[in-house]
Every structure is written in structure tokens, then in C-alpha cells.
Assembly symmetry: C2
Homo-oligomer: 358 residues x 2
Amino acid sequence: MDDSKKRLTPLSELGEFGLIDKLTSDIKLKNSSTLVGIGDDAAVIKSKKDLLTLVSKDLLLEGVHFDMMYAPLKHLGYKAAVVNFSDIVAMNGKPKQLLVGIGVGAKFSVEAIEEIYFGIKTACKIYGVDFIGGDTTASASGLVISATVIGEVEQDRIVYRKGASPNDLICVSGDLGGAYIGLLILEREKQAFKANPDLQPELSEHDYVLQRQLKPEARTDIVEILAKNKIIPTSMIDVSDGLASDVKHLCKASNTGCIISEEKIPIDQETYEMSKIFNLVPSVSALNGGEDYELLFTIKQSDYEKIKEIAEISVIGYMVDASEGERFITNDNITVDLEAQGWDALKRRQSEIPDNGS
Amino acid sequence: MDDSKKRLTPLSELGEFGLIDKLTSDIKLKNSSTLVGIGDDAAVIKSKKDLLTLVSKDLLLEGVHFDMMYAPLKHLGYKAAVVNFSDIVAMNGKPKQLLVGIGVGAKFSVEAIEEIYFGIKTACKIYGVDFIGGDTTASASGLVISATVIGEVEQDRIVYRKGASPNDLICVSGDLGGAYIGLLILEREKQAFKANPDLQPELSEHDYVLQRQLKPEARTDIVEILAKNKIIPTSMIDVSDGLASDVKHLCKASNTGCIISEEKIPIDQETYEMSKIFNLVPSVSALNGGEDYELLFTIKQSDYEKIKEIAEISVIGYMVDASEGERFITNDNITVDLEAQGWDALKRRQSEIPDNGS
């Protein structure tokens, strides 16, 4: 069937309440703590004894956090959900409920909003999260996606950013820098497309890093692996700003310094090679790229034997006394200050991303 | 001191983390259920036994929900908080925690964002709510304020939209239509200012309706009065879309019809007189204006004796069988179908507001 010929439904045809019904009528609640989802003035949750409730929210704005030119709508919905789940995971918790508010311009069709919702619902399904609040409103400007996630964690298993001590090992899950390289490739193809709209984008060889950028995952699996191995991290954060910035968050909250070894930072082969093509030192993509949504955490040295066999986790350094500062040992064995450029959305401009390597 | 000469601080001077520190360092947590507020990946809440957790969120967008030309920033912050509190109140609950994400354009100064935060913090102080999550990001377009509120309610006191039965009395707190008339006055003065920028706005005589529009309140006091008088409504909603639309929400959720009497609708004198000046039937401001954030609820007839002495509550009609539909008895004693134009932001355009009465 040729979908491109399907008539798109203007928003005005349904109105606000009709749209909400259409988007949410197929939502089913699965978690026992979710008493009431969409449809009343507030959603209702019943917490269990000895469980703490975790809440986090994120605002994704067109032109700042994503570019509609290359971010498919269903991936945007998926990512908006998952980056929130990741915040709950970073507290060693499990995401349970999600609320999403969407602001859309008049140019949006009902089908376009359904795409975003499809992504949100898919993420909720995969992560076992109940979608309990949805609200779609007009936006006079760009697309706005505002998500709030509720999670839960056993009182004796919660992990904060604070809590690390000198000598604790610094660990990270998965690999870093891929999401940033994915963004650079998308930006490069966008510039090429602008210069010559007949050009086909060269994306097929870059599946891994593009997925890291467009459709990241929250590491709920790592939380389970840690629990199974009886490890409770002493501090934890998810890598959203970049390794350098996020390890500094742990140090600041825990009142420690740190030493990170460049050679220990896990970097995927594709990230490594594309970094070179973009004239970037690969570890810089990891340190300053951000958006990898891996877990960065510290453990007691006594837990090293438990963690060293887990393939998905790398030990990249250790905490030191705050007076020793935050340090980085390069592959040439030179020790320098750890610099965080970070993913500082207030300073960042898309145009600052190097337009290189084509 | 002449504030107008004060140098404003550009956002780039502080960066994202510096800004968050500046905005949130004076926040103190007061509710025992709030374990951790701003500063980690998620806020942490400890619910008490037999209490249900309520969650609601709202998205306020420049050019759709507010106009920067006449909405002072501190009032915007206050309103963003209070309209969320109102959703918790509408479940017969108490708001306890608030998270707010703000997207601001590059033109914004640090001081402008502090104004918004001042409004949010003031609302939190007045309502005894902890401000537990704040996030400020760049916006490529207009101002975006996204708030999420967490509240609590005893399990045996929660009130939904569903639950009303035929013969239940329909009640409303305070008075209706004022917020809409306030909006019309602000729009009128904006048009006059555009035509002649030397003109001083004529606002001083309209304090009440302007406050209803710019700085609404959530009726936590009504929830307390109801509790004190041992009344648990059978259904409840807050009046955000307009009386007609909101009573229809109760009817739909409860599977009832309703009869509303025009003569019983509480309308303030100022709303009444200004409606006439705008060539509006006063009850139409109440039925279709919205944003009054009064409580609309139903009670058993047996509770009538308890409610009739409460000055702040008016009985405006009663529920009937669904087959009888939703009906409106005019002051001329003519019965018509209750029409809901509603506050349907997807259909609404500011330009549709009558530009009248100047």
C-alpha cells in the first residue's frame, strides 16, 4: 500500500479532546502501582511499603535538542521516553510510569502526532512502563516534548550522585562517544543535502552510531546485572552531558577528586574510526559528546572481583581525595586536568558542531 | 534605587549548571515526604501508608497559553505552578511537590528567569509545596514552561471525575467567567497600545478580573472546608476549560446527564458588568471562558444541609439520567442543550477573541 497518498488529518478536525481519545484509547496499564492513568485531572499511583518514589522530567525542544530534518518522529517519541527512564535507572531504580506533554505547530497532522505517540508507546512497552498522562496542545513555534517519569527503588538500594569515597573504582557501562559521532554524521549529511538536494544521504554504514544518537536505550539491564551480582554502587549518574562533565558531577556531589585513564575508556570501533575522519581524538567524543545514556558509577574496591567478569562494564579510573582534583591520564601517560566542555544547551549552538570530514 | 539601569546578565555568562545553582540554591524542602529535591538525576519521595500519590503535568507555551506582552514573568511562574496544584485539588488531594522545566530564548536574561522562578517559589511557599525539580534549557523559539506536580490524598477521600449519580447536586466554588473577561481586557489594551504606543493602559479599575486571569489560585481551601464539613464529593474537576465543557467531562465520566440553571451560576459584579461592555451574555463568559480554576463537583442530596451554609459554594444544578442529556435552563426559563465551546487550544486562536468594547 502506498502510504504517501493517504490523506493526512488536520488537527482541527479532531479538536483537543478527540485527539487525546484517539491517541490514548489503546493504552493498557500493567504495573500494579498504577491505579489510574490518562483521563482524570491527575494520574493515581499507589506506592508499596519500603519503596521510594523517584521523579524526573526533561524538556526536548525542536532546534535545540533535536532537528526535525533528520530525527524521525517515532524515534523522537522513543528517545523522549527513554532519556527519562535513564534518569530513574541512574538512581538504581526502575521506571514505572510516564507522562508526556506535546506542543505541536499547526502544520502537524494527526498522523504525525500518532508517530510520536507510537515511539512513546513502544518505549513504554519495551521497558514495562505505564503511559499515564498525555496532553497535546498547540505550539506557536516548534515541536515541544515534555516528559515526566515516575520510578521506584527499594529504600536500601537507592544510589545518589553523592556517596563515592577516595579509592572507589569508577565504572561505565557499554561504550561512549557514539551518540555524538552519530550527530556529526547527521549534521554532515544535512549540510550535503542542503548544498545538493539530489544527493542521497550516506547513512547505511553508520547504523550503530546513528542508533546511539536517534534511538538510545536506558540501561535497565545494568541495574539488574548489578543487583544479581550483589553490587550497590556508591554513586551513580547517567552519561547525558559527556563523561567529563558527568564524572565531575559525581566528584562534586561526593566531595572527591578522580583519575580517569584515557586507555580504559570504552569506545566502539565505529565511533573510533569516524572520530578520526572528523579529525577528533576518539576519547574527546566520549569525554565531551554526551547523550550516550550509559551508566557511570563508582564501586568499593572490594567489589572489583564481582565486576571484572561483567563484559558490559569497564573500570576507567578511581576516586581520589578532593584536594587532588579531577585528572586525566592520556594514552601517552601524561596527566592533565579533566576538562568538561559538556553538553551545555545554554551555551551550545548547532552551528558550533564541526562541519568536517565530507 | 533605579532598577532600570541595572545591567542584565546574559545567560551565556553562567552556563546551564551555574544558572541552576543560582536559581535553586535558596530552595528549602518542608514536606516530610520529600527526601531529595533538585540536584540528582531524580527527586525522591517517600509516600506514607494509606496515601495515594497523584501526578499531573501541564505545558504552557508562549503565544498559545500566554502572551508575554501582558503577562508579567513572575505571574507566569506563579500561574504555571498554581494551575498544576489545581489538578491535584480536583482529586480532593493536597499538592506536595513540583518540578518545572523552562525553555527560554537567547534574548532572556538571568534576571528574567529569576522572575519566573520567583513566581514559582512564591506559589510553592503559599501552598506549602516543595520545589523538587528545575531544569532550564535554551529554546529556539518562544518561552516554554512545563510543570509537573505530585500530590497526595487519603485512599478513602480520593474523588474522580466519575462517581456522580442522577440527582446528585452540582456545586461550584467561588465565581466564574472572571478569568476570561480579564483576558479580553488585556487583549483590548494590547490592541490599543499597538495602535497608539503612547496610550496608557486602562487596567486599574479591573483588578479582580485581571488577577483571575494573570494570577489564579487553586482552591485548596475548598478541599479543607469540604473535609471539615465531612463532605466527600461524588465527582470533581477544576474549571479550566469552562463550566460547560467541564460539567460535560463529569457527565461523560459518570455516565449521567445534567441540568444547569443560568440564574444559579455565580458571577462576580465586575465580570458581569464587563461582559455587558464586551457584548457578551455574562453566563457565556462563565460557560465557555475557562481558566477560573474553581472546583466543580457533585454531592449527594443528603449533603445539601451541610453545604448550603458555605458562602463560597453555589449549587448550580443537578445530575440526571444520561438519556436526558446535558441541559441548560436560561433566565427566561427556556431549556436548551448545554453547548461547550471550551478552551480548546488546538482550535483556538488569539485573533478569534472579540476585539470589542474600547
